[in-house]
């Protein structure tokens, strides 16, 4: 049997990697340099922006995947951020001695314990949230938005009930405090650490999504969940897994964010959610890569604008979103849908 040549065989499809959104990032950073004027300030702001961006990415990634996979938008995602941060205090405050000890090892031990507990609790909470709050309203967007918003309010208020109405200070561990002087620029150590953690999470997520079968299924499910089911896989299980992982990541993001601000408030989750929403819209709903770039863009703009025109810092992010949606109405990396 001789195979019949198809006419299109001749032309090899080009490998399509969409570079343009990647270039926006350095373009933005370079454009800010002359406006800011001083190179050391620029370096400081850029590192701060990258650190903040990584933390936002960690919080936003789960949300965007959950949306892509099941068309579920969890307006209560911010609650996991807050709960993560507050749960960490259960370890960090009693272990203040270890945190403030002059030993990297003791600092890290206390911190790892806190992160593990925070991620465990938020993961579990995510599981419960999915069962109780989200499952009954699958496919009903309107109710979904209302219910998850309500869930967020309740969670935020419960933080007040359990931890009281006051802000909780959360000092950085001793070895993470201070800055590294780099020429004229001072770079806070913690920001570098946040960048490193963010990169690790991103690379890990990238590897899981690209190199494992579960990852492939998630990516396939984001594009066409029905087809994944028709191939014989239970998408609900995938979804619950992603939901739990996303909640745990939001918890991790909350711990990092709390340490960055060195102060916890019950509203921290809902405040950051505004940026998170902008990020996942900019990135393209459902796209992890877009979420990563979007988070860095939003954070850089927030830091540059915060320095240049502090009064309109948040409004500048709305402008960024408008600009990007004018360029690409579905976000930087639109997810192909059915």
């Amino acid at each position: 049997m001789t195979p019949i040549a198809t006419p299109t065989d001749a032309e090899l499809p080009k490998l399509k990697l969409d570079w343009a959104p990647l270039l926006v990032l350095p373009a933005l950073a370079l454009a800010a340099l002359p406006l800011i004027g001083s190179a050391p300030t620029w370096v400081t702001l850029t590192i701060a922006g990258l650190a903040m961006g990584m933390m936002i990415f960690i919080m936003a990634s789960g949300l965007t995947l959950v949306f892509g996979l099941m068309d579920v938008l969890n307006f209560g995602h911010g609650a996991f951020v807050t709960v993560g941060a507050f749960t960490a205090t259960l370890v960090l405050l009693p272990m203040q001695g270890w945190m403030q000890a002059d030993s990297v090892l003791m600092n890290l031990t206390a911190l790892s314990l806190a992160v593990a507990l925070a991620m465990g609790v938020t993961g579990l909470l995510g599981w419960a949230f999915e069962r109780v709050i989200i499952m009954p309203v699958y496919g009903q967007h309107l109710k979904q938005i209302l219910i998850t918003m309500g869930g967020m309010i309740v969670a935020e208020q419960m933080i007040h009930v359990v931890w009281g109405p006051d802000q909780i200070p959360l000092p950085l561990p001793a070895s993470f405090r201070g800055a590294i002087i780099f020429g004229d620029a001072a770079i806070e150590k913690y920001r570098l650490i946040a960048v490193a953690v963010g990169l690790i999470v991103f690379v890990a997520m990238f590897l899981v999504l690209n190199r494992t079968k579960v990852g492939l299924l998630i990516r396939a499910g984001v594009e066409n969940g029905e087809m994944v089911e028709a191939l014989g896989y239970r998408i609900r299980r995938l979804f619950v897994g992603v939901f739990i992982a996303g909640s745990a990541l939001a918890g991790l993001g909350g711990v990092l964010w709390g340490l960055y601000k060195e102060m916890l408030t019950a509203a921290m989750g809902s405040e950051i959610m505004v940026l998170v929403f902008i990020v996942i819209i900019i990135g393209g709903l459902g796209s992890v890569g877009g979420c990563f770039i979007g988070a860095l863009l939003v954070a850089l703009v927030a830091n540059y604008a915060g320095f240049l025109v502090p009064k309109i810092a948040l409004a500048s992010n709305i402008l960024l979103m408008v600009a990007i949606l004018l360029w690409r109405p579905q976000g930087l990396y639109p997810v192909a849908k059915r």
């Binding site: 049997m1 195979p3 019949i4 198809t6 006419p7 990516r219 594009e223 089911e229 028709a230 191939l231």
Partner: protein, 241 residues
């Protein structure tokens, strides 16, 4: 005639408030290629989706290989042995050709020998093995969609209008593929509007209109009987040939 592999009895399907399938009776026999014909909007796609459990039958029953699948979930129906090539092909465009086939192989890696067999009639898939599926041409995507359904042997293959919008040369390679599959005694339910494409392939044939089966018989009879073709399928069929 061989025994029935899939039987639909009096199947009704509602999409939202619309009553689409209005009592479909259909039998697919083991080892045969059954062709489902009918004009646009007759309910062919809805029938396949109901078999796959993507719509739920509101009345009637579906039995596959002795098992009642009327209320079964889509993944259960798939694991029971039905593979589905939807009308829009359902390719994962972000994934490579290899990754698309990897997901279709539930056992793990696709079997190398079977892959070689598939490459025999769909050589483009081998050539673009590591390309993102979204970069393939329409015909190549259709090949991938079919390859995905046959990368492991399944009891029944549902294929929805594979020739839609394809150039004649590509349709030729699809015919080759279906001949190969028939040679391996694969049971196939093939939805088509292109009568020219299926007249030589089909064993039995059913014609749908307005959510019902309006004719059942052997393809050989229908292929011979121009009057019957005329009355069932209208003049438009000639335009396809």
């Amino acid at each position: 005639m061989s025994e029935a592999l899939l039987t639909l009895t009096g199947v009704h399907t509602h999409i939202g408030q619309y009553h689409i399938l209005q009592g479909v009776d259909l039998t697919v026999r083991r080892g045969e290629l059954t062709v489902l014909l009918g004009r646009n909007g007759a309910g062919k796609t809805t029938t396949l989706r109901t078999i796959m459990g993507l719509w739920k039958a509101s009345r009637g029953g579906l039995v596959f290989d002795g098992q009642d699948i009327t209320r079964a979930s889509t993944p259960d129906i798939a694991t029971a042995g039905i593979a589905y090539v939807p009308e829009n092909m359902g390719i994962f465009s972000d994934l490579t050709v290899r990754e698309n086939l990897l997901l279709a192989a539930r056992a793990g890696e696709p079997d190398a020998q079977r892959l070689e067999w598939i490459f025999g009639f769909f050589p483009a898939l081998k050539k673009f093995w590591n390309q993102a599926a979204g970069t393939l041409s329409g015909g190549q995507k259709q090949m991938l969609a079919i390859a995905r359904a046959i990368v492991e042997p399944r009891k029944l293959l549902l294929v929805d209008e594979p020739t839609k919008g394809l150039a004649p040369a590509i349709i030729q390679s699809l015919i080759t593929a279906f001949r190969e599959l028939k040679g391996m005694e694969t049971t196939i339910l093939l939805v088509e509007q292109n009568f020219g494409f299926v007249r030589s392939l089909g064993d039995s044939v059913a014609v749908m209109d307005d959510g019902r089966i309006v004719h059942k018989g052997r393809m050989a009879e229908l292929a011979e009987d121009r009057d019957l073709q005329q009355s069932l399928l209208g003049l438009s069929l000639d335009a396809h040939q």
